[in-house]
């Protein structure tokens, strides 16, 4: 009964990506409109602007959530592609563990970067 849960998480991760990537794209590319509305940052690509976002807890949390969702969504998709190569049960198990540990490593590494930028 694990498969439906994994698939539901895949869909949820997709929704999270849609929302947070939407926020990210808005901040990066709609700065003129957003600043005229009193939100957002002028020159979002400037160093000072990046620093301000890194020191904001909201952005640190969204970076970590987006990282987790993107890693899960991407690795679940990769798992699907690999499973479609008619893998045997033991090979499926190996793929599951390999993708889990690679994903976990990347999540810890990326999460550390986001937290370090906030704390330091």
């Amino acid at each position: 009964m694990r498969e439906p849960t994994l698939w539901i998480l895949h869909i949820l991760a997709g929704i999270i990506i849609l929302i947070f990537l939407g926020i990210h794209m808005g901040i990066m590319h709609l700065d003129t409109i957003l600043t005229s509305l009193g939100v957002g940052y002028k020159n979002p690509l400037s160093w000072s602007s990046v620093l301000i976002r890194n020191k904001a807890l909201f952005f640190t949390i969204t970076y970590i959530l987006l990282l987790g969702a993107a890693l899960y969504h991407g690795f679940y998709g990769l798992r699907n592609i690999l499973f479609e190569l008619s893998l045997g049960k033991s090979a499926q198990k190996a793929v599951n563990w390999l993708l889990f540990f690679v994903g976990l490593f990347l999540f810890i590494y990326g999460g550390y970067a986001a937290i370090a930028a906030y704390v330091i």
Binding site: E3, P4, L6, W7, I11, F83
Partner: protein
């Protein structure tokens, strides 16, 4: 009136309109030769189907050609073939509508070939069997004393799955499925759509049992919704929709958002049918009842 008569005669004309080349896949496991394509010239008359063309070849040019067919009217689903690069029923494909001078006829892809144009459908039917495509009842009394009356179902309840009940198990959907092309263990659109069909039937109580069979890696999660199965389905069943609805059924059950459907009750009395006035009696039986 004269125009209508002229039109009728032209439709049923025996006149040969053109000659097409049938490029047919040939393979026999007994002769030791590799699979090859063989050309045959077939005179085409109006209304001829690809199946008629194959009949012409078998009757007049090459009696060793093997292909599967039965009803000749797109009901049995036996004559599925790969015709001009699309899975189609040979009996439903008009030669003139293909608008081609060469018609390539191959066995359905994604299946082993038994001989010439005959695919091995045993794996396809095994997948169908694996999802328990029949009504499952839990009433103990019904198991001991099988009901002879009908189950009561409203037209709305029937409408929920009727579309998927039109499936003729022709196998075209699996031949068109890009996932089946690489993943041989994927259950495929037919079996999954049929699982949805029985899960949605109010006469059925087997959802929990089917759920266990469907929650496997080769279940509905492998479907990418390419929609090829629905595109090639000759009966308009739309199996891709069935697979997505099945995913929804499982997910909502898993999240505790789906209520179990109402179970169709057994009719307590046999409905009495009265003959309408003016309807004649049935003719006498040709075979006597024992």
């Amino acid at each position: 009136m004269a125009d209508q008569k002229e039109q009728e005669t032209s439709v049923f004309t025996e006149e040969v309109i053109k000659e097409v080349i049938f490029r047919v896949h040939r393979f026999s496991p007994d002769d030791g030769k590799p699979p090859r394509m063989q050309d045959y010239k077939v005179p085409v008359k109006r209304g001829m189907t690809v199946l008629d063309g194959l009949h012409y070849i078998r009757d007049n040019l090459d009696s060793t050609l093997s292909y599967r067919f039965s009803c000749r009217m797109a009901i049995c689903g036996s004559c599925g073939m790969f015709i001009n690069n699309l899975p189609r029923l040979a009996c439903k494909t008009q030669i003139l509508e293909l608008e081609a001078d060469t018609i390539e006829v191959k066995p359905l892809p994604n299946y082993e070939v038994i001989k010439d144009l005959v695919p091995d459908l045993s794996d396809f039917f095994e997948k169908h069997r694996s999802v328990m495509p029949y009504l499952i009842r839990e009433e103990e009394e019904e198991k001991i004393d099988p009901p002879t009356n009908e189950f009561l179902q409203t037209p709305d309840e029937l409408e929920r799955f009727l579309q998927f009940a039109y499936c003729t198990k022709c196998g075209l959907c699996l031949a068109g499925c890009p996932t089946v092309a690489t993943d041989k263990v994927f259950l495929g659109p037919m079996a999954l759509a049929q699982a949805f069909r029985y899960n949605s039937d109010t006469r059925d109580q087997g959802f929990e049992k089917r759920l266990e069979l469907l929650c496997v890696p080769e279940g509905p999660w492998r479907c990418h919704f390419a929609g090829s199965c629905s595109e090639v389905c000759p009966k308009g069943v739309d199996p891709a929709l069935g697979v997505q609805l099945l995913k929804g059924q499982i997910v909502f059950t898993k999240l505790g958002l789906k209520k179990p459907h109402k179970i169709a009750p057994l009719a307590t009395e046999k409905p009495e049918a009265k003959r309408r006035p003016g309807i004649p009696e049935a003719p006498p039986r040709t075979v006597k009842k024992e």
